[in-house]
Subunit: 140 residues, 2 copies
C-alpha cells in the first residue's frame, strides 16, 4: 500500500504570496493543523502549522494580516514520495516531532498530505485484517 | 484498562488568572497542542488549544500578553473520568472534533490528559497483543 492510499489527496494549500492570515483561515476552514505553501506550479515551498502560529506569530505581536506566510512558514520541509514506506514516514514524523508530511511527485509538486493520524489509522486497519486472517486460519 | 493507563498523567496546566501568552508558552515548552485551565484547587475550568489560538487570538489582533486565557479558552469542556471507556472517549472526540479530553476525579480535579493519539496507540498495542495470542494459539 502506498502512502497515497492513506493520505489526504485534496489538502488545502496557500500560494507563496499569501498572508499568514490566509493560511490560518484555510486551516480553520478545512479543520486541519497544517497547510502546504506552494508556488504557482504547485511545487512545495514550505509548510505552515498550528505550531508555527504559536511560535512565530502569536507571541511576537506580528500581525498575520500583514505578515507573509513565507516569512513564518517552516522551510525546508521534510517530504515524502509515493516510494516512501509507511514505516519510513512514521519514523521521520516521530524523530522530527512532525505531525504532517507533504507527499510530492518527482517534480516536487504536491499530491497529498500525510498526517500522523493517517499512519496510525492505517496501522490499525492492517492489524485488524491480520487478526481476522489469523483467526480464520485457526478455525479452518 | 482505564484511560488513566494510556493518558498523560502529568499534563501542563495554567491557572485561571494566567494570560493567553502563558498558556501558549506552556504548550510550546511541553510540545502539546492543548493545556487545561484550572483553578487553585486543580478543578478544570476549561481547555485552551492550538485551535483556540488560531480562532480566537491570531485573526482578532488581540495581544496574548494582555488577554486572559479564561477569555479565549473553550468552556464548558467535555471531560472523561476513570470510568469512561476508551470507546466512549474516542466517540466523543470524533463526534465533537476534539483532539484532547481532560480526565478528572469525582471532584472535577484534573488527573490526566487524553489525546487522540493515546487512544489510537493503545488500540494498536491491544491489536498486536491479540494478534500474538491468535498466532500462538494456531501454532499450539
Amino acid at each position: 500500500m502506498s502512502l497515497l492510499d492513506i493520505c489526504e489527496k485534496a489538502p488545502p494549500t496557500v500560494l507563496i504570496d499569501a498572508t499568514a492570515a490566509d493560511a490560518i483561515r484555510a486551516m480553520l476552514e478545512y479543520h486541519v493543523g497544517a497547510v502546504t505553501v506552494v508556488d504557482s506550479n504547485r511545487v512545495v515551498a514550505g509548510i505552515f502549522t498550528e505550531r508555527d502560529v504559536m511560535r512565530r506569530l502569536s507571541l511576537s505581536g506580528r500581525d498575520p494580516h500583514t505578515t507573509m506566510v513565507r516569512d513564518v512558514m517552516t522551510t525546508p520541509v521534510e517530504l515524502a514520495t509515493v516510494l516512501t514506506s509507511e514505516a519510513e514516514a512514521l519514523a521521520t514524523m516521530l524523530e522530527r516531532h512532525y505531525r504532517h508530511l507533504p507527499i510530492v511527485d518527482s517534480e516536487g509538486r504536491l499530491i497529498g498530505m500525510l498526517a500522523m493520524r493517517h499512519v496510525l489509522e492505517a496501522r490499525i486497519d492492517e492489524l485488524v485484517r491480520q487478526l481476522e486472517r489469523a483467526r480464520t486460519a485457526r478455525i479452518m
